[in-house]
């Protein structure tokens, strides 16, 4: 008995030590590059969303779910991260469907431009936040660069061990958990950097989206069909990365062929009153909060009118949850404007 206890204690202490060190050393993404926190903020949420929006920075910075709630009573969540590749979006959707069945899934099509894994750092921003599951392993397997190893996704200590010399107060403060930073997957930016020039797209050797990218888009379509979910394709109104006419044509043809709704917001800039002199914080790559609210206004309208998404504002239980979200959203917006006024930049985003 004594021996069994000794072995048990030895293993427990070993594992405890390992996971504690691992927890300490993994990046917390609460300052600077905060995008690494986006994916994990989904798990503590109540899983009853009408709409799930998936994609890259063109969704988590360009659409405000809070506005869709306030204006149309739509409950939505963005499952997006930086340079989220289409297979990552597919597996995030697969994972999401294990938790809930939304009415509509909105997917931003820019990710089709990538047919192969791109960068380990971006993989990490998306995949590290995913809970461990077979779906995560599939996402990892589809995303890994040649010098990566699946074990380092299961045990991130193998990836981040060299951070031991960079450990700081942020790591200790967020050891047991992080404060909420986003608004149902939306990354708020209130600052403005107007568009001055729009560079034209460089000539590409081939304008056709790759087979691998199409494979995952097809899988996404099938997954939605199997789960009786409407899939809406959108192209967010970011001026660059450049959206080529040839790409647009492919998406129009694809959506027509599959019978999907496709909205290219680049063509609706005037209709939704988007002004790139005030509605972007980085000269046209991404929208700021005023821009994101304008896109959300239009998308919410389409979803409620064309897809009959129910207005949940009369549901007291849901409304109570969203009231807090709205409060948090408005508080952050106010703070960001104040910081802009006072410092000329958003101090809280820099962790200062």
């Amino acid at each position: 008995m004594k021996k069994i206890i000794s072995i048990f204690l030895t293993i427990a202490v070993g594992l405890g030590g390992f996971f504690s060190v691992q927890r300490l050393l993994v990046p917390k993404y609460t300052k600077g590059i905060v995008e690494g926190t986006l994916i994990e903020e989904y798990y503590p949420e109540a899983k009853n969303h009408d709409v799930i929006i998936i994609g890259d920075c063109e969704v988590y910075e360009n659409i405000s779910p809070i506005t869709m709630w306030e204006e149309y009573g739509i409950t939505s969540f963005i499952r997006g991260s930086a340079q989220q590749l289409i297979w990552q979006s597919y597996y995030l959707l697969e994972e999401t469907l294990k938790y809930e069945k939304p009415e509509v899934v909105v997917f931003n099509v820019l990710a089709l431009k990538y047919d192969q894994p791109q960068k380990e750092e971006y993989n990490r921003l998306t995949l590290d936040g995913m809970k461990f599951s077979a779906t995560k392993l599939k996402a990892v397997n589809a995303s890994m660069m040649p010098d990566e190893n699946v074990l380092s996704y299961i045990f991130p200590l193998f990836r981040y061990h060299s951070r031991w010399s960079e450990v700081n107060s942020e790591d200790f403060e967020n050891f047991f958990g992080k404060r909420q930073m986003f608004h149902n997957g939306y990354y708020m930016r209130a600052d403005v950097k107007p568009v001055e020039t729009v560079p034209s797209g460089r000539i590409l050797p081939d304008y056709d989206f790759g087979d691998n990218a199409y494979k995952y888009l097809n899988m996404m379509v099938e997954l939605c069909e199997e789960n009786d979910i409407e899939l809406v394709l959108i192209k967010a109104p970011s001026l660059y990365p450049y959206w080529y006419d040839e790409w647009e044509q492919q998406m129009e043809d694809y959506s027509r062929k599959k019978g999907l709704k496709y909205i290219n917001y680049l063509e609706l800039v005037d209709e939704i009153d988007l002004d790139f002199a005030v509605d972007t914080y980085d000269a046209g790559l991404h929208l700021n909060v005023t821009g994101a609210e304008k896109v959300a206004m239009h998308l919410g309208k389409v979803l409620s009118e064309e897809f009959d998404i129910e207005d949940r504002r009369s549901n007291q239980q849901i409304a109570a949850i969203w009231e807090k979200k709205v409060e948090f959203y408005n508080e952050m917006k106010k703070n960001q404007y104040e910081e802009l006024e006072q410092y000329g930049y958003i101090k809280s985003l820099k962790g200062e």
Partner: protein
Amino acid sequence: MLFTSFDFIIFITLLFVMYYTVPKKYQWKLLLAFSYIFYFIAGPKFLFYILLTTGSTYVSGIKIGKLYEDQSLYLKANKELSREEKKAFKAKVKKRAWKWILGCLLLNFGILFFIKYINFTIANINWFIDRLNDRETLSFIDIALPLGISFYTFQTMGYIIDVYRGKYPPEKNFGKLALFVSFFPQLIQGPISRFDDLAKTLFRENSFNYNEFSFGLQRILWGYFKKLVIADRILVAVQTLIGDTAMYDGAYVFVLMVFYTVQLYCDFTGGIDITIGIAQILGIKVQENFIRPAFSKNIAEFWRRWHISLGTWFKEYLFYPLSIWKPMLNFSRFARSKFGDSIGKKLPVFLSAFVVWFITGAWHGASWNFIVWGLLNYIFLMGSEELKPFYSWFHSKFDVQGTLGFKLFQIARTNLLVSSIRLLDCYRDVPGTFKMVGSFFTKNNFNIFVDGSLLEIGLTSADYWVITGGLLLVLVVALIGRKGSVRELMAAKPVIVRRTAFYLLIMSILIFGAYGVGYESSQFIYNQF
């Protein structure tokens, strides 16, 4: 497959589980299968070479063994033969055995020579052709070096020589001989095992033994600590210093000398620790290859402590046979008659040692820097031998022998000599190396030690702390190791101390190890030899 890769750890874990799961009579067969899988992963085409070496050695061994068996039967059946007749018969058998061993040696050393040295030979021939102003130089041959060829060729040839000498009978099971040649933990960087030594545990049926497992695991971890925490961390600076000789000369040469010594020591001894540890968890005993070489007080002692299996191989299979070779004995007689007993006795030794060190250099690599390195070792060794009368005179005048200060001086001197000639290994260019060493004395840039320049060669201050801490631990372990086995000492400690030390070792490898993204995966240095 890198020893330091996740794939290798999975490979070993799988082998370990299967090894103690399959019926014991299949254990060695499993090892053989895993060894060949390991070799196949390194390059399927290399299998041809190792199979050719194994096959030719097997056939030669069997033939020689048969000759000796027949000889024994014949002599038993003909007891009436006179001594002279027996001697004549034995000589006849030996002559026939000699043909087999000669063929085997020529074939296998021929393969090694062709693969490893053909382009070096061509380069040297071309050098002469250039000097003769002939423009028709020879083309180089595009040929890849099979994994561990120097190690397994030497090991196999050691086996066949022993069989020829009648030290033990040949292995009749081809699979077992194939396992001896290809046993994967030692394939990459040795040690060069002797058949009679390794076979005792390699082919036996091994039961799981917790103590052996525990000791083996500790040895593996200690090897990984040296390799990943120290050697691979300092590697960045070594590569930086070698990569730009115009910028990193003068005092940087000294820095490189120290850093490369640290890297090589931790890389090679770490790799051998992993090899011995892996074998140990499988119940197999692989010979030690190092006995705290950094504590050597002279070069001769250093070579008795460093890469012991290579030194032993050269001593047993080259130096001694060469020393008693008939032409060498004739030369000895000639030298004695011409130069007197004192010089006449030494000349054959000098000549044999010269050959051994020339080949030792060439064994390490097919380029002049390695050969010059070997010959400098030779000069140091012979020089210290010749300086013995001076040392005696010195010690008769100054009573310092045995004092700690003098011992430390001897250790520092030995390490300085050994490390300085290793710079040839770094720069891989003989005149270039001497020029760089010269710059140490002519370029006055010793301020690099205080002005922060050493933080701009790929190492941060945190790296220096890790390396220093790691080396201190290596030193402490080596000092304790002089009095006995460190692992046995640890085993006698209370369980809490043992477990804490075990966890600290694992966590220090996991945290401070230079592995994964951001670090270049590095093969062991001796793998290239």
